[in-house]
Amino acid sequence: MSAQPEATADSGLVRVSSEKIGRLMDLVGELSLSVSETVHSPDLQGLDLASFDAAVHRLTMIVREVQDVATELRLVPMDDVFKRLRRMIRELERQTGKKIDLVIEGGDTAIDKMVADKLYDPLLHVLRNAADHGLEPPEERLAAGKTDRGRILLSAAQIGSEVRIVVEDDGRGLNREKILKKARERKFFGPDEEPEPSVLWRVIFEPGFSTAEVVSNLSGRGVGMDVLNATMTALRGRIGVDSQAGKGSRVSLYIPVSLAFLDCIILRQGRTLFAVPIDVVSEIARPSRDELTNVSADDNRELLRLRGTMIPIVRLDEFFNEVDRFAPRSPVPPILVVFNTAMGAIAIPVDEVLDRQQVVMKPLVGKLASVRASWGCALLGTGEVALVLDCERLAAGAGK
């Protein structure tokens, strides 16, 4: 009976301004903070509160659900972005005289509206690169034994708490020689160094490393792939590039679904608290002394041997220049947290692993903007502030 009026209501959609949703998100953040502040109140220490604990459990569950629902409010399908890109491809077909089939997959993948809005420009750039520099003109394609129509795949899929967006073309692929030559000129690699493909491709995202000069002579737009790099850093995303000569290239972007909340593990090192997004933590180890090696020849680097692989150890106090790395070290703290990064695994010694928490992120502004290797501040339920580590930059910085 009640289904009748619902069916006639105009499809049940309400237009809401994104500011209102933003305000709601902020409030939900404050709410979840206040709840955990209350729950972790020092006044409750040592009290035996059986029914209170049960109520807290329920309250926490509800807050978590409200958080999820509020986050969902701002989710839009990737199609919103893809549709605009499709128009651009037709435009490019006209400009370049190439024939392009754009295949879109996973357009219904949900993503934060704020993320989607920021993704258009960098995706446009990747797509333009694929069409302009990746795909060959029809004659060249036929000569290479391909069909005359170039194919670009644009796909989105949710993988865990991340959305993976792939732009794949079946063009000529990246030119290893030219990129390597240019990268050596820019001193990214030594004259005799032969970097792994995945390492080499990453240089095309370096600021000022124009792909137009490198891959082909076709016109560039004056903006390098570093536009993409900057956006991805702001969105806490990662970029992967894969390419095979003559077969094509694939650029994959990994972006968190939502920017507001972050599932983190809280670590303590010395007097500082750090938070690390849960998906980069691969394991927590308690190594014995003989699993640790020191390499004086390589900047006095320490290595952790974990099931046969050697993982470089990055001490946070050395990274942040709080102690001299050549000074005699205290023994490695008992706990090592291993992070997965694009540069390979790194191990971070910590004094204590505290908790797993959903944290509210605050950007680092003003004086705090100079903190390196951090996404922002995380407000913890206890009212404390932890620094959210950007493990990619931690790994990159430690390599120097």
């Binding site: 500082t272 502004v365 003003g366 004086k367």
Partner: protein, 177 residues
Amino acid sequence: MTNAAAEVNEDALNAVTARGDSSFSDADNIDDMYLTFALANEEYGVGIGVVTEIVGMQRIMSVPDMPHYVKGVINLRGKVIPLMDARLRFGMAEREYDDRTVVIVMDVGDALIGLIVDGVSEVLEIPPSQVDRNGQFGKSAKSVISGIGKVGERVSILLDTEVLVSDSDISLPASMT
């Protein structure tokens, strides 16, 4: 002693929170208002326009990659605010925080920053005619001192908050350290 200090603090606080009132509503007037505070036996002042609130000492959480005079951050009702120790900023001797120590929260360049001082004194109105802006203190463009305010027998060293929160080295004339 402590009581008196607390009262002064409260007065200063009231003056700050009351600046929206009619008595201070004149914009020109606010430009001449300074919140004065003590560092050792010197008196300093910051324009009241940048001061958002005055809070007691909070639990400081350390943050890496900061200059030595930034002691860490506090969580003030969900806002993460870095704290700068004014004594360390000016190269003065460090002093343990006590119950008179307060944090002056300022909004400078669109970001909040807290200044740890020995204690706040009061809000003074110092018209431009009583502010000495030349002399040895104005010689470099980067000076943290915007002028010396004189009210009767009292002298307040007025600070340029932009320079104060910047990363530039500030050196006070030897006579003042």
